[in-house]
Amino acid sequence: MNQRVTRAVDLATAAIDAAPARSSIGRRMIGVLQAATANRGARIGLGLVLILIVTAIFAPWIAPYGADQMGAGMSLMPPSWDHWFGTDEFGRDMFSRVVYGARLTIQVGVIAVGISLTIGTLMGLVAGYARGWTERILMRLVDVVFSFTETLIALAAVAVLGPSLTNAMIAVGIAAIPFYARIAYSVTLVERNKAYFSAAYVAGAGHFRLVFVHLLPNIVPPLIVVATLGVSSAVLAAAGLSFLGLGAQPPSPEWGAMLSAGRDYFTQASWIMIYPGLAIMITVLAFNLLGDGIREALDPKQKAKR
């Protein structure tokens, strides 16, 4: 993940500049997306992500039953016309639960990545800009935390906060901070060594202008590309925690938690376990494809190879 992402950053930094959009960062990102969708994988990924988002937003309209509605069918019914994904032990419609689960997944992705992206970016930015002691202490700390791997940090966070989906999201978010901080830091170092930064500096620009007008807009876009890949890790990690019972608790239709509950029925009703697992996998796949696609689209070398 690591190197893959560092590479993504390099490419993104280089190539977002060259992306054919006109004005704002937002439009530039759209330009990147457009470029990315020249890539088949990215198109599939984007399509799946859109489906996921639509599913999450319109869950009540899409799902034929309520997420917790018992007796929607008989319990442990195999997939059928009425219950596409079958029913669980309470006769709840698995399809509806998976659909509602999309909401939680989006929530996990947004909140966890939001936490790590925001805090990580700020830490990296400050460390890269400030230099000296601030830099050394911040980055040393980041290095230390980084060496623990995300799983351990997430576990420690849940151990302290106690198991719940909210805490799992926070834990996953915290765990990924060093990752974003490092990337933000290295991008900041690269950017601040570019001549445009020096030019602004010798034009007499103040700290605020240097950080927020010159550096931030230049480090955010590559980080957003990275965050796309980050969503997949976050979703996976949070589902893992839920699976272990450290995240979402039943009856929450969180996919990891559903898997965890479903495994008791595996021999009798394998569909209870199959569909949530597939849902996780497809979601993660979608973000991976999208992230990879963007990265590849931005990579002039890769492009030339195809």
């Binding site: 018992m70 032990e89 309470f90 198991p163 608790q249 039943p250 009856p251 008791d264 021999t267």
Partner: protein
């Protein structure tokens, strides 16, 4: 041959003073004996002690030991061992975690080599049955010489000798060839039939079932979902523990509306169809519970309790709610909490569904037990917030449990009344069984009428055993005591 018994977790310690988990208790029971035992009816009978005597005022209890008991290491078991155990548990620098349950023991005295006397400050009705509990397992004083007692060695007098413990994985127990059964409710007067009893930790339920089917395992704790198919399986016998001492009940945050009003609590009780919920979630594997303490525990009397509880009656519930101003336009919103595991969250989902029928909107919160315990106390200290109901469970072999739970301030600082306090104090000081039963029932009456505690079922954890049919002889004694003495190895 070996008997292999697979469970979902490991013991915490071999030392009965250092842990409290059921998983640990089950294993201690194989290694150690207590002074007394429970027979199949849950009555206290003699065991290591061939007789016991309670003084008139109930403060002096004297035990007389059999004179031919041998410890696993070959030393005789006598009054010194009892003294060593009791002093370690009560007066050592690191007393037993369950010290409080022993009552106010002020002194333990060795009368002679086979007689020991416990002196209590105040009479304590639960003391005698407690002497049949695993927490009072009798340890041999030769344990004092082992540096790793509790973690790597354990010397008792029970049917199985401790062999080895690979933590997290398995415990090997060897048959005690010299064992003489003096009180255990099992059909074998002497040494166990099998050579070894291997207790394995296997967290995944499905793999335990698979292991049982392949013959790798002889006794397993089956996942509830699989019980039906195991029961139908010729090659497997499913044993369901009856007197487990465990009970599951609802309790409320009673210090604020709506559940400071008994009517609200009764409404909840009326609204839930306990039988139906049990049926859906557990099938016929758990027993409906009517009393505040579990069936099989002293004082339990379903017929008595039924007079005071609130059976399923949605209309009544609606009525009560209406009295309190709740209705379809103004539904009561509450939190329904429990802790993880054993299908309890499924139970809550049933209750949630039923409460909805009478316009009580419950949101479910499932947390870990530690959080839940803290949360309950916290909820009782809050003056604001939605109503809070908790599906809680406790295990005890004696109605003294009620004292722990409901005598003010109470385990969770929840429901208590001055009247109940007085009665609960009496349950402790009344020693005569018949009189004690009376006071216990008085406590039941208050708890049930006030709906301070709404009993639902007797169930819990590790109370199902699936045993392969080619290794017969397995039995569960009362309070979930697995008996392997008469079991044949494969």
């Amino acid at each position: 041959g070996d008997i292999v018994w697979a469970r979902d977790g490991d013991i915490d310690s071999l030392d009965p003073h250092r842990a409290t988990s059921t998983l640990s208790r089950q294993v201690w029971y194989q290694i150690y004996d207590s002074l007394l035992e429970f027979d199949d009816d849950g009555s206290v009978v003699s065991n290591l002690a061939e007789s016991w005597d309670v003084s008139e005022d109930g403060t002096e209890i004297t035990f007389t030991l059999h004179d031919d008991i041998m410890c696993h290491d070959g030393t005789p078991f006598d009054a010194d061992d009892v003294m060593w155990t009791a002093e370690r548990a009560l007066f050592g620098d690191n007393p037993s975690l369950t010290k409080a349950s022993w009552g106010n023991v002020s002194a333990v005295d060795k009368i002679d080599s086979l007689t020991v006397m416990f002196t209590l400050d105040t009479p304590f009705g639960a003391f005698v049955p407690f002497m049949a509990d695993q927490f009072t397992s009798m340890l041999c004083d030769s344990n004092a010489e082992a540096a790793d007692f509790g973690t790597g060695s354990a010397i008792g007098t029970g049917p199985w000798k401790f062999g080895s413990w690979t933590k997290g994985s398995e415990i090997v127990l060897e048959a005690n060839a010299d064992y003489v059964n003096r009180g255990r409710p099992v059909d074998n007067p002497g040494a166990p039939l099998a050579d070894r009893l291997i207790v394995r930790t296997m967290p995944e339920g499905q793999t335990r079932v698979a292991g049982l089917r392949t013959g790798e395992l002889n006794v397993i704790v089956p996942p509830i979902q699989e019980v039906k198919s195991l029961q139908d399986d010729e090659a497997v016998e499913v044993h369901v523990a009856e007197g487990t001492g465990q009970n599951m009940f609802l309790q409320f945050a009673v210090t604020r509306p709506p559940f400071d009003d008994p009517r609200a609590r009764r409404a909840v009780s009326h609204a839930i169809d306990k039988d139906m919920a049990i049926q859906v979630v557990y099938g016929d594997l758990v027993e409906r519970q009517y009393c505040p303490i579990s069936r099989g525990v002293f004082g339990n009397d379903p017929e008595f309790c039924k007079q005071f509880d609130q059976d399923y009656d949605p209309e009544k519930a609606t009525e009560l709610l209406a009295e309190l101003g709740y209705g379809p336009d103004n539904p009561m919103e509450i939190i329904l909490a429990t802790w993880t595991g054993d299908n309890r969250e499924r139970m809550l989902q049933m209750l949630q569904n039923q409460l909805k029928q009478v316009n009580i909107i419950a949101s479910i919160e499932v947390m870990d037990i530690g959080t839940l315990n803290a949360r309950d106390t916290q909820e009782n200290n809050k003056t604001e917030g939605p109503g809070y109901v908790d599906l809680m469970g406790w295990t005890w072999f004696d109605p003294d449990l009620l004292y722990l739970l409901w005598h003010s301030p109470g385990a969770y600082e929840g429901f208590h009344t001055p009247e109940l306090d007085t009665i609960l104090e009496a349950t402790r000081t009344t020693v005569d069984p018949a009189e004690r039963e009376e006071v216990v029932k008085e406590a039941f009456k208050i708890l049930l009428e006030e709906a301070g505690q709404v009993p639902i079922y007797t169930p819990g954890w590790l109370w199902l055993y699936a045993v392969s049919a080619d290794t017969p002889g397995f039995k569960i004694g009362p309070f979930n005591r697995a008996q392997f003495g008469a079991m044949e190895a494969s």
